[in-house]
């Protein structure tokens, strides 16, 4: 049985309580989330780059924090600039997914496959997360 991390959506092997540490976002339940809400901790994790936390557990093959959050039902907005200084927005609003493709980029973001192909690594390198 798995339990979703209430901060980042990672599927935990143990319930998110009693000082369990999420390998994805690093939240220690009962300590890190004592006062700060899970939404606030999620904002902080996104703002710091949504990096994999654990050095003991490797991220799943092809790990994508964006997909992990989306799968857990957490919406947010990301923006970045490509080499042509155009902006890519992936906007989630109440479950509706609006994708604005960059015309000059040969890869487009499919509404069901964010980060498909090699575009995602570019996004992750330059992204500034902004939680709506």
């Amino acid at each position: 049985m798995k339990w979703p991390c209430p901060v980042c959506g990672y599927q935990l092997s143990d319930p998110p309580k009693d000082f369990e540490i999420c390998p994805s976002c690093g939240t220690e339940f009962g300590y890190t989330d004592c006062t700060f809400s899970h939404d606030e901790l999620r904002r902080r994790w996104l703002k710091s780059g949504a990096r994999w936390s654990s050095r003991r557990i490797n991220p799943p093959l092809g790990w994508n924090p964006v997909m992990q959050l989306l799968s857990a039902g957490h919406g947010f907005t990301i923006s970045t600039r490509n080499t042509n200084e155009e902006v890519i927005f992936v906007d989630l609003d109440g479950g509706n997914q609006t994708v604005v493709p960059v015309p000059s980029d040969p890869l487009t973001l499919d509404s069901h496959q964010y980060g498909s192909g090699s575009l995602m690594p570019t996004i992750m390198k330059n992204v500034r997360f902004r939680v709506v």
Binding site: D18, Y31, F36, S54, R56
Partner: protein
């Protein structure tokens, strides 16, 4: 069988040779949990290895209590919680005898006004 025992440590009983008292030292439930907690808290403690970290936790949670150490038992699950305001050590021992965590708390992390407030909230 060996790998089962490696990953599922059981509380070990040890006897103090001088005083003849017996204690249970469970350590962390798995090597992985020990490693995760060690990675997270090692920078705030005078430890270099996982074994040192686990020994500190054992001594704090299972050994004789310092006069300044506060202790409570969590009513809903029987976990033992200890906090020493003088050394700023905080630890939780599960009712099964395994260490759940051990670290020096900081208000910037837990968000309570003081570490004592954080300890009392856990009780």
């Amino acid at each position: 069988m060996y790998y089962f025992l490696v990953f599922f440590k059981r509380p070990k009983r040890w006897t103090n040779a001088l005083y003849g008292t017996t204690h249970f030292t469970g350590g962390f439930t798995t090597q992985l949990k020990l490693g995760e907690h060690f990675d997270k808290h090692r920078w705030q403690l005078p430890v270099l290895t996982e074994r040192q970290y686990e020994n500190l936790a054992d001594r704090f949670l299972v050994g004789s209590k310092e006069p300044s150490t506060l202790e409570c038992i969590r009513p809903h699950d029987g976990a033992r919680i200890r906090y020493n305001p003088e050394t700023n050590e905080f630890g939780v021992l599960g009712a099964t005898g395994f260490v759940l965590t051990y670290f020096p708390p900081h208000p910037k992390i837990h968000g309570r006004p003081t570490n004592l407030d954080y300890y009392q909230d856990n009780c």
